[in-house]
């Protein structure tokens, strides 16, 4: 029966072991808008995290501030002759430097909160799907309750109880966001659980842990990634709102939201730049992340994929 073993050669044209992931990455960057958004976000992240390398001053080191440079409009030069492209606030703080430091706080809070909420929600979602029964019913009731309350309200109440602080803002954001992941992951895990390749894995006597980590979770990644991207943008916007309302990060580590709040009083007296430029950066950041999320959703949507 040697003819049986003749292999069709139709895989010849396909690249060696090209994974679904690589195919999807290529598909993702086929959109110019998504590519631009990704470059923007990458640039913002780099500049924020290496902010000290990109700024002329540490905006929160009082010894580097000069009150003589206060409230200079964009394009003016300081006493010492340095041009302030985005102007300065009333303490003579360079707005551009303040924005990069503020962006760093905003991004840190957004990413950390999302990462923790994602892990927590994923664990809860998988357990809920796997254990089933009353545990599942209970978890899903809590999720429904959580999702039915406006996140800003819950976060404000929590922060009123916790007090200010980066860690406290992150905790509040995790509490208002874990439920999105739990619901998404549970739904996806229930589908995967019934997949034939999971049955095959059970038939091979693989343990539940092996099945969850090697078969179920990798196939739940697309919806998790889509939700997480949207939630990073949401977390950053939420933190900005909280800080704007004075319930967020401490004054020693202002975020974009707090910069907007601190310049708010000057808007009417004509010093628009203190508030406006941080606002523009916030909008660009949140908008670009959302564009990435939309593109990811299109690329990863299993109904659109073949």
């Amino acid at each position: 029966m040697s003819t049986v073993d003749q292999l069709p050669t139709e895989t010849a044209g396909v690249e060696e072991g090209e994974s679904m992931l690589r195919r999807q990455v290529r598909e993702y960057f086929r959109s110019p808008l998504a590519t631009a958004a990704t470059i923007t976000v990458a640039t913002l992240i780099l500049m924020a995290f290496f902010a000290p390398l990109f700024v002329p001053q540490n905006p929160y080191d009082l010894s580097q501030l000069d009150i003589m440079d206060g409230l200079l409009p964009p394009g003016e030069s300081t006493y010492s002759g340095r041009v302030l492209w985005l102007g300065s606030d009333e303490q003579g703080r360079d707005i551009y430097s303040a924005i990069l430091f503020g962006l760093r706080t905003s991004l840190t809070v957004g990413f950390l909160a999302t990462a923790i909420a994602c892990m927590l929600g994923t664990i809860i979602g998988v357990i809920s799907a796997y254990v089933g029964g009353w545990v599942d019913s209970f978890v899903m009731r809590v999720v429904d309750l959580q999702l039915s309350l406006p996140s800003i309200l819950v976060a404000l109440v929590l922060l009123a109880a916790f007090g200010r602080g980066i860690d406290k803002v992150i905790a509040a954001l995790v509490i208002v966001q874990w439920a999105y992941y739990a619901r998404t992951v549970r739904a996806a895990a229930l589908v995967e659980r019934g997949a034939e390749y999971v049955e095959a894995a059970r038939c091979l006597m693989l343990s539940n842990t092996q099945i969850v980590f090697r078969h179920v979770l990798p196939n739940c990644m697309p919806p998790i990634i889509v939700v997480a991207t949207a939630q990073i943008a949401h977390a950053i916007a939420l933190e900005a709102t909280l800080s704007f309302l004075g319930a967020g990060v401490p004054v020693t580590q202002p975020s974009l939201g707090m910069l907007i709040a601190s310049g708010y009083n000057y808007l009417l007296s004509g010093q628009y730049w203190i508030s406006t430029y941080p606002g523009v950066v916030l909008v660009i950041t949140v908008g670009a992340i959302n564009l990435m999320g939309d593109r990811l959703r299109d690329v990863l949507n299993p109904r659109l994929a073949n």
Partner: protein, 329 residues
């Protein structure tokens, strides 16, 4: 007489769909929703001897896959016993029970759906043998290569993903994955149903070659009588969760006894190409939700008598190795 590789005794599996909230509320105000119980497999007894190929046929929904899944350890039976290599599965300790279940592997119907789309072939085939210490992790690549060659796959494609293969090659990957844990019994559930006819023949040939090389035992589930006739030593016919007739393949196809088997064979044109008798099965397959009383087949049976409505016929041996469940045979 040869020794049994697997045997099931009075095996049953029911699926219960419990009432949802709306239905329960509706019941409070007088509606009459009941829990739906499907007896997918109903007190089935069957043995498959070593190196034997037993075919299992029957219309879709009669419980063939459910029976196969219980043997493969994917589903827990509700009642009855499974014996593997003469040992009661339930009386074995955990480790030996696992080993027994591992020795019964399954080949699935849909080659694409049964492969993890995010796993390379080398991992799909190699995961279980490494986890069960059949092969040390560092020797897995040559081990997988050997199995890929055995099923007619090019080992150079070991790092590819399922979507890069053709349907026939995916079927071979599914077979390789099962072979990798050195099973003695293969449950093939419609294993070639999704393939083109020419590819189907190649995969069937592969099954037979593996049987000869490895002395494998098969439970070959199919609704395609032609395929079963080609491969099987013995054939069982299922109807609504029960085995209604079982006999050596030649005998069953030449001299079917049960009215359902006869109707099933009459539906199969290529077998009776010349003197075609149109005793096609009348009526719909009854719902397994509330199967008919007595003999499940009586609403469609051309020979039914009064007794058939009240009393279920037992599966009785009517000649050497040939059993049927019908009051009239």
């Amino acid at each position: 007489m040869s020794e049994p590789a697997v045997e099931v005794r009075n095996l049953s599996k029911r699926f219960v769909r419990s009432l949802d909230f709306v239905e329960r509320v509706a019941n409070l105000v007088g509606a009459n929703y009941r829990e739906e119980v499907v007896s997918a497999v109903d007190r089935v007894s069957l043995r498959v001897d070593r190196a034997e190929v037993v075919g299992l046929v029957g219309e879709s929904g009669c419980g063939k896959s459910t029976l196969g899944r219980m043997l493969a350890g994917i589903l827990e039976p509700d009642d009855g016993e499974i014996l593997m290599g003469g040992e009661h599965l339930n009386r074995l300790d955990d480790r030996r029970r696992k080993a027994a279940l591992l020795s019964t592997q399954m080949v699935f119907q849909n080659p694409m759906a049964s492969l993890n789309p995010r796993m390379r072939v080398v991992d799909t085939i190699g995961q279980a043998p490494v986890k069960h210490s059949i092969v040390p992790a560092r020797e897995i690549v040559p081990y997988v290569d050997g199995i890929m060659r055995q099923v007619g796959l090019d080992p150079a494609t070991r790092n590819h993903y399922p979507h890069q293969f053709s349907g026939g090659q995916r079927a071979r990957i599914g077979i390789a994955r099962a072979l990798a844990v050195k099973p003695s019994v293969l449950v093939c559930d419609e294993a070639t149903a999704a393939l083109d006819v020419s590819i189907q023949a190649q995969v069937l040939n592969l099954f037979m070659r593996l049987r000869a090389q490895l002395g494998l035992t098969y439970l070959f589930v199919s609704h395609d009588l032609g395929v079963v006739r080609l491969l099987a030593d013995r054939v069982g016919v299922m109807y609504l969760g029960r085995i209604v007739e079982i006999a050596p393949a030649g005998r069953l196809f030449a001299d079917p006894q049960h009215p359902y088997t006869r109707a099933l064979l009459a539906d199969m044109p290529q077998l009776v190409a010349k003197k075609r008798r149109f005793v096609a099965i009348k009526g719909q397959l009854p719902s397994p939700l509330n199967p008919p009383m007595g003999c499940h087949f009586h609403p469609r049976c051309p020979m039914a008598v009064a007794r058939c409505r009240g009393e279920a016929p037992a599966l009785r041996e009517i000649a050497g190795n040939h059993s049927a469940a019908c009051h009239l045979v």
